[in-house]
Amino acid sequence: MNLREIKKVKREWPDRAMVVSLMVPCEEEPWKKILKEVEDTEADGVELNFGCPHGMSERGMGSAVGQVPEYIEMVARWCKQHTRMPVIVKLTPNITDIRRPANAAKQGGADAVSLINTINSITAIDLDNFAPQPTIDGKGSHGGYCGPAVRPIALSMVSEIARDKDTRGLPISGIGGIATWRDAAEFIALSCGTVQVCTAAMAYGFRIVQEMASGLSNWMNEKGYRTIDDFRGLAVPNVTDWQYLNLNYVTKARIDQDLCIKCGRCYAACEDTSHQAISATKNGRRHFEVIDEECVACNLCVNVCPVDGCITMERLTAGTDPRTGKDINPAYANWTTHPNNPMSLKAAE
């Protein structure tokens, strides 16, 4: 039935790429058989679903395979042997280090990886019958979590694969909470060649893709990018590890008083959970201002401010940092050489 429809759609839309997602038990013969059937539909590629965390994983498919790099490599290899179609391996985020399954897919000969699939989750507990929701005859189970909340996790995992020496250059299809053109552009900036959308279409229907296409086009026009490849991966070199961040980079939060609506959320956030670096009054009047002597540039106020562009981070390039009392050093320096780092002290001894 599915195969018949796939064939029909491909016939009617021959100029569009069609990738078929597959979930099959971990045995060579069933894979061989289904690949043959998919080839008959004239589809353009297959995606091996090694990510599904519910229903299939318990039957030895989906994330049950994706959590074992050896299985990934084995199945990817079978698929490459038995089909001429490109093979994409879809990865589960329900593991510790995404680079291992990605590398296993590469070793098995996969043409690309796609990620992330959904995250094990219980979204809610019904407080009347004390069972997870949705509730099936009084019980509930975990399900796959997706949508905007998982996007930061997906971006991080994509970046790890893009940066790792063993997996660098492996084509990536980005998935995870993509709902606007900007989300799509961010995944592409981290080297994704394609992006996939499901939750947003579930919430709003396929029409949302129209906004994504027009938004991406307008942004690319403004930036002068002719193709996606013009900006693909540009963010990858700027993802680094914490210890290499420039410790001499001093910024302070700045509140634009003309834009400020005086809600005081920056104050509450900074006062209660950060560095007490914002004052709430000036000459007895309600007025929110950053105290440079206390501001550590954590960015929390920027995040809680409801007015776009009202709070920004401003770099200090000269003079003294009022917080540390030390002169601002324009040179780059990081934690590996920092005197507070016991490892660096040890090296010095």
Partner: protein, 448 residues
């Protein structure tokens, strides 16, 4: 049309359907969906400007958050903790000049969070359960007399009862509620809400209301001071200002507060007579209330005359717009010169244009005549001090009080419209009553 002898004042101008529609709830209550959507707009501000703007200091961000978290009963308790008449205030407060004017979303996009409507949603939810969120403290054995069952008296009584004192309220009218029952425009408080709220408030226990008992020769202040441990005066304003215009006592010239009271107490609005052409003199809420309600009763032309410009009007921009969109005309910079009367019945008003010269209001000398079947005076109310027997000091014609609402007479507190320095708002009266109650409580139980 048959020629009408004399002024055209009559009842039954409208169909039953029109009366019902005209006097329905001005703002229908928010349903759960609307309350959740609206409460989600609140930014939960630090030291929230709305809370600062509320005369009773309700923790507005907290109650809105409680609504948004599906806890409207908790929200109602947060409201009642500061304002036990939170249900009425949600309906009648000029929120557009108080909390909602201060809302940061008014600053951000000119659309404040609908705080009043949300407050109504919360308080209606808890009131519908019929349960008070308070348990009285152990009895102190102290007894307090409260004069007046209006917002100030009720708020005072509730707080005193909460602290374990027994309260007797002496009310001059036949029903409690004060202006909530007799004064406020009917479409702001439909379905007998004022009485329901009184019942809800006194359901805490320990409060007895004696209706038809004004301060008088038979019930003197001295008597109350002898019989009770403390006295709170919250008797409101009984007098009205006079126009000082010729033929002011002609038939057809009435005090707006009396007419509004008749309207509020009418069981059948179609029996209430209203003129075809109405002139209202004044610039406050009472002027708006009587003008709008006359229009809603079927009057053809309703004109408010105010002697200064629109910015000096006490009625807020929102109230003015309410009147104007109901077809009331507001005429500025005019004052009444004399009532034109024929055989003791008013037929119109002679007015004079006014102007401000060096901060002083004067007539320009130019006059005009306005035909009217009914003329309402809404130029302010006054405090009548006679029942106090000269025992208490006054300030600008009202009872002088200190910061704790103590009067010059030991053991006597005062609040609401009868006290000096007030804002003449329900919500301000509630705050007065609450503060006086706390002061009385610490006076009566100095050791706690």
């Amino acid at each position: 049309m048959a020629k009408v002898a004399g002024p055209d004042i009559r009842a039954k101008r409208l169909s039953a359907k029109d009366y019902a529609a005209n006097f329905a709830d001005l703002h229908p209550p928010l349903d759960q969906h609307e309350a959740l959507v609206e409460s989600d707009r609140c930014y939960f501000c630090y030291d929230a400007p709305c809370q600062r703007a509320c005369p009773t200091g309700i923790d507005i961000p907290m109650f809105i958050r409680e609504i948004n978290a599906g806890n409207p009963k908790g929200a109602a308790k947060t409201i009642y903790d500061e304002n036990i008449l939170g249900g009425m205030c949600a309906r009648v407060c000029p929120t557009e000049t108080l909390c909602e004017e201060a809302c940061v979303r008014e600053a951000a996009e000119g659309q404040p969070v609908k705080i009043g409507q949300l407050q109504r949603y919360a308080t209606d939810t808890l009131m519908a359960t019929g349960k008070q969120p308070y348990i009285r403290a152990a009895s102190t054995g102290k007894r307090i007399a409260v004069v007046g069952a209006g917002p100030a008296g009720l708020a005072c009584a509730h707080r005193l009862s909460f602290h374990g004192h027994d309260v007797t309220i002496f009310e001059a009218k036949k029903k409690p509620g004060g202006l909530n029952e007799f004064g406020i425009a009917s479409y702001k408080t439909v379905n007998g809400f004022a009485q329901k709220e009184v019942d809800y408030i006194i359901s805490i226990g320990g409060i007895t209301i004696k209706n038809g008992k004004p301060l008088s020769k038979n019930l003197t202040l001295d008597q109350l001071r002898n019989d009770y441990d403390a006295v709170f005066l919250g008797m409101g304003l009984q007098g009205v200002n006079a126009l000082g215009a010729k033929h002011e006592d002609a038939d057809g010239v009435d005090d707006a507060v009396d007419y509004i009271s008749d309207l509020r107490q009418a069981n059948d609005l179609s029996k209430l007579k209203v003129g075809r052409r109405i002139v209202v003199i004044g610039g406050g809420m009472t002027a708006i209330d009587v003008a709008v309600q006359s229009k809603l009763l079927g009057a053809e032309d309703v004109t408010i005359l105010y002697r200064r410009g629109q910015h000096q009007m006490k009625a807020s921009a929102y109230e003015r717009e309410l009147a104007q969109t109901r077809g009331v005309k507001i005429k500025h910079w005019v004052m009444p010169k004399k009532v034109i009367a024929k055989n003791g019945t008013a037929t119109g008003l002679e007015c004079e244009y006014t102007e401000e010269k060096k901060g002083k209001l004067t007539g320009t000398g130019e006059t005009f005549k306005l035909e009217a079947d009914m003329i309402f005076k809404a130029i302010g109310q006054t405090f009548i001090a006679t029942p106090l027997g000269g025992l208490i000091e006054l300030d600008h014609g009202r009872i002088k009080i200190d910061a704790d609402h103590r009067t010059s007479l030991k053991g006597v507190w005062a609040g609401g419209d009868c006290a000096a320095g007030g804002q003449d708002l329900t919500v301000a009266a509630v705050e007065d009553g609450k503060r006086a109650a706390e002061s009385i409580h610490s006076f009566l139980t100095p050791d706690t």
